[in-house]
């Protein structure tokens, strides 16, 4: 009942999980309001899945505290399990069984009588457009179908909190949009969703608040607007016709955008990050337009120009000073050492 008063579905303080030498989760503080989609954004190996596993009572934290609807995930694991559902990074259904068998199995485990479990399974398969594949083993399902059956298995009983661990990784854009629709439908009925993702646009589409996590730590947290403002509106990418004009273009961009300009490995390419509200009071697009006009005036030929939302890489670069790839390879090396 304390949940109703605090209004938080998840509350963690200084959550830590270590695997040997690696601190997979290194002091994570989260406060997830009930009834919303909360995005946890980060690259591979940032500690997202480990965090979710601790919250879903699958891993015991090595330090700190975590409460789900006011229940301690270690001491009151059973109460927590009664209110959450988990959709893991890899399909959390039995691949050897058929779609129907999987749902009936879980329905029975959730306490439904045989007939009720069967009925609910049929309705869910129908709603998820899986009726035709109901009698097929899940191992023969496509990626999109697996995701659907997986989410269906998570809402056999409408959970108060649903963990979606990278629900669209490896899906084609259409299947991804369909998963997004499902998530929206689930949230519309009052379920809280904790969504982990590697994609900024996914968090952008679904989440109301986002925590950016890197190397086991939350490095930024806030609403989408706050987060974007902290990172900048996006980046201007330029491709010049003549590499010899790059130094000149760089100087013009730097002045017009009042931003740092990066030389890309490609000798004709330049990238500049644009602040949300830039120093001279203009919007990002305005500033970029002015820069383009200036380049045209002095005779720098621009072949290609784009103003994009910050990508995850850019968010990371802005927040941490290192990009996701460099981080990844370091992490893998560390893992290898631990294994050896």
């Amino acid at each position: 009942m304390s949940t109703q008063t605090s209004g938080l579905a998840i509350e963690t303080a200084g959550l830590v999980k270590t695997f040997g030498e690696t601190r997979a989760v290194d002091g994570v503080d989260l406060a997830v309001p009930a009834g919303t989609v909360y995005g946890v954004l980060g690259p591979n190996g940032a500690g997202k899945t480990t965090t979710v596993k601790m919250l879903a009572t699958l891993l015991r934290p090595d330090g700190g505290e975590a409460h789900v609807f006011g229940h301690d995930v270690v001491r009151e694991a059973d109460e927590v399990r009664g209110r959450v559902s988990l959709t893991g990074q890899y399909a959390s259904v039995d691949e050897d069984l058929t779609g129907t068998e999987n749902l009936v199995l879980l329905g029975r485990l959730l306490g439904h009588a045989k007939r009720a479990a069967r009925l609910r399974s049929e309705q869910l398969l129908e709603a998820f457009g899986l009726s035709e594949a109901a009698g097929k083993q899940v191992k023969h399902y496509s990626g999109g179908m697996r995701r659907r059956i997986d989410i269906a298995a998570s809402i056999l009983n409408t959970p108060d909190l649903l963990f979606l661990d990278e629900p669209t990784t490896g899906l084609d854009p259409r299947s991804r949009n369909q998963v997004w629709d499902i998530v929206r439908a689930v949230v519309a009925q009052g379920t809280t969703v904790l969504l982990t993702t590697q994609y900024l646009d996914e968090a952008d589409q679904l989440a109301s608040r986002i925590a950016v996590i890197d190397r086991g730590k939350v490095i930024a947290e806030g609403t989408k607007g706050e987060l974007k403002a902290s990172v900048g509106a996006g980046s201007v990418h330029l491709r010049l016709r003549d590499a010899a004009q790059r130094p000149q273009a760089e100087e013009i961009l730097r002045l017009a955008l009042d931003a740092e300009v990066q030389r890309e490995p490609d000798p004709v390419a330049l990238t500049a990050r644009v602040g949300g509200g830039s120093a001279n009071g203009q919007g990002a697009a305005e500033a970029a337009a002015r820069a383009l006009a200036e380049l045209a005036r002095v005779g720098v030929v621009v072949d290609n120009f784009s103003l994009g939302q910050p990508s995850l890489d850019e968010v990371f670069l802005a927040l941490t000073g290192h990009d996701t790839k460099a981080h990844d390879s370091r992490h893998v090396e560390k893992k290898d050492e631990a294994a050896a």
Binding site: L109, L110, A127, Y141, S175, V186
Partner: protein, 282 residues
């Protein structure tokens, strides 16, 4: 494989937001299942797996037939004058040995299964924790029953005639299955403890071979050296083999039955909690 691509390329029916919303609106939950109900449901899962992958019954059909034929004809002439006479003594013992050997596959299947995503879901359910493991063992009990029927049939064809009749045979098999169920907790422990399937196999062999061969399954222990007799006469497999042999011969070996059940209880009490500890920590 072809089914996957064909269903993929075909239009996947759209998700119906309205019916989904209608399903989600029901917030009440049924009461949690009892420990027994949850265990039986996991047992049902094991049976469904056999249904979908019937090849996995190979070890409870071909292997036991091979064991009966091999040992009856290999030792029969030398140990009892003829295979036909030997099988009267051997069959209950070889039945015990084969079924106890088959139990080690439990560890392998736990080990391969635990890495899969579905285990995360099971472990996040509000159910009686050991039911997942008990479910495995219930499914395996069915496999042991199949192996027993197969071996008894082959034995009868070769000339085995149990004096205990149907009642004696059923009682013997029942005792064997109870023991195997209890004994399997060793394998669930190893299945969770060891990292790879291969190491589970290796350790299982190390345990199972001496334990089953150093028993009274093949020969009367009185011909063995004293130190070996000390081991053999106290081995749970010897007690079990004696109990099953005598039950099938129409007797009621109270002491041997008590020993077999006592060992069973010990296995569950020791390895059950260790298994669950590992399961919760995995």
């Amino acid at each position: 494989m072809s089914t996957a691509t064909s269903t993929d390329s075909k239009e996947l029916a759209p998700v119906s937001a309205e019916s989904l919303a209608a399903l989600l609106i029901t917030k009440e939950r049924p009461p949690r299942p009892s420990a027994l109900s949850a265990s039986l449901t996991f047992g049902w899962r094991a049976i469904l797996k056999i249904k979908h992958v019937p090849e996995q019954l190979f070890d409870v059909t071909a292997f036991p037939i091979m064991m009966v034929l091999m040992y009856t004809y290999l030792f029969g002439g030398a140990l009892a004058g003829s295979p036909k006479e030997y099988i009267q003594f051997l069959l209950p013992g070889i039945l015990v040995m084969s079924v106890v050997m088959i139990t080690m596959y439990t560890g392998v299947s736990v080990n391969t299964d635990i890495e899969k995503g579905v285990f995360d879901r099971f472990r996040s359910l509000p159910i009686w924790r050991p039911s997942t493991m008990v479910g495995y063992l219930l499914g395996d009990a069915l496999r042991y029953a199949i192996a027993s029927v197969v071996m008894l049939t082959v034995g009868m064809v070769l000339g085995y005639r149990p004096d205990g009749g149907v009642v004696g045979v059923v009682a013997g098999v029942a005792l064997l299955i109870v023991f195997s169920f209890a004994f399997s907790w060793i394998w669930t422990m190893f299945g969770l403890m060891l990292r790879t399937e291969k190491s589970v196999m290796g350790v299982s062999m190390m345990v199972i071979f001496p334990l089953t061969f150093l028993s009274n399954v093949f020969v009367d222990p009185s011909t063995m050296p004293g130190w070996l007799q000390a081991f053999v006469n106290n081995s749970p497999i010897t007690h079990l083999a004696s109990a099953v042999r005598e039950l099938m011969a129409g007797e009621w070996p109270t002491a041997e039955i008590a020993w077999s059940l006592g060992w069973s209880a010990l296995f569950v009490l020791v390895f059950g909690p260790i298994t669950m500890r590992l399961y919760n920590r995995k």
